[in-house]
Amino acid sequence: MMNTSLIELRGVTKTYGTGTAAMQALRGVDLCIAQGEFVAVMGASGSGKSTCMNILGCLDTPTTGIYHFQGVEVGTLTRNQRALLRRHYLGFVFQGFNLLNRTSALENVELPLIYRHFSPATRHPQARRALAQVGLTGWEHHTPGELSGGQQQRVAIARAIVTQPIVLLADEPTGNLDSARSIEVMELLTSFNRDQGITIVMVTHEPDMAAFAKRVVHFRDGLIEKDHHNHVG
C-alpha cells in the first residue's frame, strides 16, 4: 500500500498453547520481502522458521502483529479466504514432497489446476509444460513410488509453479536429498526466480543451499537475528 512490499510482517508473534504450557515461537518479527526476491531463512532447530513460513503461507495467522500480503491483512481473513489466497498466489514445496501416492506425476501436477477449475484441455498441456520445466518429460505417467527422491521433489516443484504463483514457499526442500540432488533443486528454484520472477522464500539448514539465495534471514529464539544480502558473482 504505502510501499511496494509484497510481504510485510510487523511485530508478529505466535504463541502456542495457553497458561503455563504457553510457548512463544515468534516474539515480534518484522520482515519485508519485495516482489522477485529469493530469500533463504536459516536458524537453529526450534528457532521459529517453520512457524514463520506457515504464517507467510497463510496457513496460520499471527497471535499478535500484522501480516500484509499484497496489502491485504491476512489476520482478518476467514479460513476459506486464506485458502483462496493460497490457491491463486502461493506455491508450496515441502521437505517430505507430499505427493499423492499411487497417482501419476501428471495428475499430481494437475491438482492445483483442478482446484482452479481449469478444463482438461488447458490443464493437461500446462501440467506437461511444468513437468518439462523441471526436466521430467517422459515421466508423466510414473507414480511417486516409481520415482527417486530428487525426481519426486521436482514433481512437487512442478506442482508448485504450474499455477504461476507470485510466491513460492519452500520449507527445507532439500532436507531429504543428497547434495547432488539438492543442487539440482536449487538450480531449478534459482531459474524460476530469475526467469519467471517468482518470489521465493526457502528454509534451509545448509549454508551451501542458502548461498543460492540473494538474501539470507537468520532466526534465533523467535526473532530475526541477522538479515543480509549475498554478494553473488
Binding site: N54, G57, L59, D60, R79, N80, A83, L84, L85, R86, R87, H88, L90, F92, F94, G96, N98, L100, N101, R102, T103, E107, L111, P112, I114, Y115, R116, H117, R159
Partner: protein, 401 residues
C-alpha cells in the same frame, strides 16, 4: 464443482480398487438381499394367486372361527356333521358339500412306517377336490354311514409303505385303527404351497371321528357351487343358515368364515406380503450395516490420508471442496455397490425363480428404491468422515506421520 469432486473421488477410488470393492461389499449384499427377497416374494405371491384362481371360482370353504387378519382366526366352536348336512339340504344351487377333518398320524404297514395326515370325509370329498381313483374304489355311502375301517391312500403313502406289492386289500395301522386299503388316488404332484398332494390318507368321516379323533367335530366344510350361480348369494345363504344354527344374536359377529378362492388367494398373498416385508426389513438392516462399513472405511481413509488432505488444503482446496470430495467418494462407493448388488440380485433371482419354479417378476420400483437407498446410505454415513476431513488443520495435517 460437483464435476471436480467426482473427478477427484473417482481418481481416489481407482487408487485403491481392492479396498473400494471390500467397502462396497456390505451394500452389495444388503441391496442384493432386498431385491432377491422381494422378487422371490412377488413371484411366489403371483404364483399362489394364479394357481388358486385356476382351481375354480366356484369353491367355498367354511371354517369355524372369527377372521382377524392374514392367516389368523380366533377359536370358536367347531362344526358337526349335521352342519354340513344342513348346508346341503337348505342351500340352493350347490353341487356338493364335503365335511372334512384331519390330523397327523403315523401309518404302519409291516416294517414300514410313515408320518402323514389322515383326512376324514365323505365320498363328496373326491368330487370337491377333483381327485380320481387310479386303482380299487372309493368309499360308498354305506361305508360312510357305518364307519367301516377302510381307507384310500395317495401315491406317496403307497410308495413309502408298499414296496412293489399292490396295496389294495392290505391292512395298514393308523394309531389304534387297523384299516383296509380299498383305493389308490391318481397322483396330483406338488401344490402351489409346495406341499405334496399325494401324501394323504382318506377315511370315512364317521370312522375318523369315532376311531381316530374321538369326537364329533368337523374342522372344515367344503362347498362347491353349481356352475353359473353366484357364489356371493350362496355365501350369504350359508352365513344366514350357520348364524341360526350357531344361535348368534344380531349384535354378535360371525364365529365362522365362508371364503371363496379369491379371498383365500388374497389371504395367502397377504401372508407372503407380510413375510416379504419382514425379510425386507432384515435386508434393510444389513444395508445399514453396509453403511456403517462405509463410514468405518471412510474414517480410516481420512486418517490415512491426513497428509494428503493437508496438501490439498495447502494448495488451496476449500473446506467444502474437501467435504464434497469425501462425500462423493462415499456416495460413489455406496451407489456403485448398489448397482452391483442390483445386477447380482437380478441374475440370482432369475436363477432362483427358475429353481423354485416361481415366475420371475421384475419390480422396477424396488430396484429404484434400493438404488436411492444405497446412495442415501453413502450421504448419511459419508457425511461425518467427510466433515472430519474438511475440518482438519492444514499445518497439523501436513506434519502428520
Amino acid at each position: 464443482m460437483l464435476g471436480n469432486a467426482l473427478l477427484l473421488a473417482l481418481r481416489e477410488l481407482r487408487r485403491n480398487v481392492m479396498r473400494s470393492f471390500l467397502t462396497m461389499l456390505g451394500i452389495i449384499i444388503g441391496v442384493g438381499a432386498v431385491i432377491i427377497l422381494v422378487t422371490l416374494g412377488n413371484g411366489a405371491t403371483q404364483q399362489v394367486t394364479e394357481q388358486i384362481a385356476s382351481l375354480g371360482s366356484n369353491l367355498l370353504m367354511v371354517t369355524p372361527g372369527k377372521r382377524m387378519g392374514p392367516g389368523q382366526s380366533s377359536a370358536a366352536p367347531s362344526f358337526k356333521l349335521a352342519d354340513a348336512e344342513a348346508i346341503a339340504r337348505e342351500t340352493s344351487s350347490l353341487k356338493t358339500v364335503a365335511p372334512v377333518s384331519s390330523r397327523g398320524v403315523t401309518a404302519i404297514y409291516a416294517n414300514e412306517n410313515w408320518s402323514t395326515s389322515v383326512t376324514g370325509s365323505t365320498e363328496e370329498y373326491f368330487t370337491v377336490g377333483n381327485r380320481h381313483i387310479k386303482k380299487g374304489r372309493m368309499f360308498t355311502a354305506s361305508d360312510a354311514r357305518l364307519g367301516t375301517a377302510v381307507c384310500v391312500i395317495g401315491e406317496t403313502v403307497r410308495a413309502k409303505l408298499f414296496d412293489r406289492q399292490g396295496p389294495i386289500g392290505q391292512h395298514i395301522r393308523l394309531n389304534k385303527l387297523s384299516c383296509e386299503v380299498i383305493g389308490l388316488l391318481e397322483s396330483k404332484g406338488q401344490s402351489t404351497m409346495g406341499t405334496d398332494q399325494d401324501d394323504l390318507i382318506i377315511v370315512p368321516l364317521r370312522t375318523f371321528q369315532r376311531r381316530i379323533a374321538g369326537n364329533e367335530d368337523v374342522s372344515m366344510i367344503q362347498v362347491s357351487v353349481k356352475d353359473g350361480y353366484s357364489t356371493e348369494r350362496v355365501k350369504q345363504e350359508i352365513g344366514r343358515l350357520l348364524r341360526t344354527r350357531r344361535h348368534l344374536s344380531a349384535n354378535e359377529d360371525d364365529n365362522f368364515n365362508v371364503m371363496d378362492m379369491k379371498e383365500i388367494a388374497n389371504m395367502l398373498s397377504g401372508t407372503t406380503r407380510m413375510m416379504t416385508g419382514l425379510l425386507g426389513a432384515v435386508a434393510a438392516v444389513s444395508l445399514l450395516v453396509g453403511g456403517i462399513g462405509i463410514m468405518n472405511i471412510m474414517l480410516v481413509s481420512v486418517t490415512e490420508r491426513t497428509r494428503e488432505i493437508g496438501t490439498r488444503l495447502a494448495i488451496g482446496a476449500l473446506e467444502r471442496e474437501v467435504l464434497l470430495q469425501f462425500l462423493v467418494e462415499a456416495v460413489v462407493l455406496s451407489s456403485f455397490g448398489g448397482i452391483i448388488g442390483i445386477v447380482f440380485a437380478l441374475v440370482a433371482s432369475v436363477g432362483l425363480t427358475g429353481i423354485m419354479k416361481v415366475p420371475f417378476v421384475f419390480n422396477m420400483p424396488i430396484v429404484l428404491i434400493a438404488f436411492l437407498f444405497s446412495a442415501a446410505v453413502g450421504v448419511i454415513f459419508g457425511y461425518f468422515p467427510a466433515r472430519k476431513a474438511a475440518r482438519l488443520d492444514p499445518i497439523e495435517a501436513l506434519r502428520y506421520e
